[in-house]
């Protein structure tokens, strides 16, 4: 259970996640404070993306028999997120509960996932109008501001297929920010981009990190970016945290052999 005195924005309390026989997260516990920027690093299959997907409710935690005693719950702002209270007990959240709570979280995907049938502007206004209940004018004004922030104000009338990968990803960032989330999840947002397009996307994210107090959880192999924007770096392996700390310490003097090996391999790429 989260401590009532210091209230983290996000708390994983002994969370398990399995896909069939494969255990991806194993009794994982960690907290993220409001406004904190956390970078998740680790080899493929270490559970980093699963953490983001659980936070975005694209996956559900593997339920435990007695969540009050055994944990297995994700908390958001001190309230259950993966679970809901029913007759004084925690039970896995239903869609109605998730729908009420997931608007606090936004996500940018590796493959952008813009809606190809909508022009850029509508991609950014759609949820504002139909989820946040803003007027069309208000939504468009906000979308234009954000598209300006990501350097794409002149592309509002284009379909996503007419944009480069980097531009599409910047629209996706604007789309996620348009909902004013408290938490922004970034899932390998530069992995699908040509190398020359990576810098623009990272520059936008640096801007966002520098100009807002949004909490960010970022899965990336861009160690320079992680060093610049993170307050904390967490190294994962086998669904567990191997080591965590401020980026300077993690990148300069990692304590664990697994972290050293991983960083050596990544930085050699």
């Amino acid at each position: 259970m989260p401590s009532p005195t210091t209230e983290p924005l996000i708390e994983f309390d002994r969370v398990d996640k399995s896909f069939g026989d494969l255990k991806v997260l194993d009794e994982l516990s960690f907290r993220v404070d409001p406004g904190e920027r956390v970078t998740l690093i680790g080899p493929s299959g270490s559970g980093k993306t699963t953490i983001l997907r659980l936070l975005m409710t694209l996956e559900r935690v593997t339920p435990k028999a007695d969540p009050e005693r055994d944990g297995g719950v994700v908390w958001l702002e001190g309230e259950p997120y993966s679970h809901m209270e029913k007759r004084g007990r925690l039970v896995p959240a239903n869609e109605q509960w998730l729908r009420r709570r997931r608007s606090r979280v936004g996500m940018v995907f590796q493959q952008f996932n813009l809606f190809p049938n909508m022009k850029v502007l509508r991609n950014v206004t759609e949820a504002q109008v139909h989820v946040a209940g803003r007027s069309k004018e208000e939504a468009e004004a906000k979308a234009l501001d954000l598209l300006d922030l990501v350097g794409l104000a002149e592309k509002t009338g284009e379909y996503p297929s007419r944009l480069s990968g980097g531009q599409q990803q910047r629209v996706a960032i604007a789309r996620a920010l348009a909902m004013d989330p408290d938490v922004l999840l970034l899932d390998e947002v530069t992995s699908a981009l040509d190398p020359e397009l990576v810098a623009d996307v990272l520059a936008v994210l640096r801007d966002v990190a520098g100009s807002t107090s949004i909490t960010m959880l970022c899965v990336t192999h861009e160690m320079g970016f992680a060093r610049d924007v993170s307050d904390r770096v967490m190294m994962f392996d086998g669904g567990r945290i191997v080591e965590q700390g401020p980026p300077e310490a993690m990148f300069s003097e990692p304590q664990e052999a697994r972290t050293q090996d991983f960083l050596r391999a990544v930085l050699a790429e």
């Binding site: 729908r99 139909h130 297929s161 909902m179």
Partner: protein, 223 residues
Amino acid sequence: MQTGWSNATVREIFPAMWDGFLVVLQVTLVAGVIAVVLGLLVAVGERNGPAWLRRPLSGAFQFIRNTPLLVQVLIVWTATSLYVNPDWSAFAVGSAVLGVHYASYTSETYRAGIDAIPKGQWEAATALNLPTRRVWGAVVLPQMARRSAAAVGNWIIAMFKEVPTLFVIGVMEMIAEARAFQGQHYTGAVEGYTIAGLLFLAASYPVAVAMRRLEIRLAKSHY
């Protein structure tokens, strides 16, 4: 009894054949709306409906797809005449059966169109917390429609060409008109069937060409 081709007979039979052709168009319109709308509801129901609905729905449409249209027309016509309402017109019953029969095909086309939408689209819609109605109406169906439009159009053309099946229950489409004319005048079968064939060709060929163009245009579109 005249056995050869007669232009005089053509002139005589043509008005009846034209009436029959208009009936074919009316049946196609009614059955087409049923096939397009019901097929869509079935495809969405199979994907998104409650578990108790999905299996029977899927089974029923599997049955419809795997039995001949003619058998379905005769079963439904006989059953409705005997047990439901003998006053229901052959036009209404025939159009409904034809529409439901082709809905079983259009639903498969829609289903394939929905399945082809990348998983990331659904995930983005979830991440934005879009309401289910909006996910379907603004994200899934427009993308599915683009993938399915030409194929559904081709099903409608196929259905149009199957309207003569309904002559067995007395729908006065072109074949029924030709047979009625022949019954009265002991001539006109060759002329009547030939006119029917030409009218089918005249109507379906331009639509088939239009469908092909639509397919090419959609393939070149921006999404």
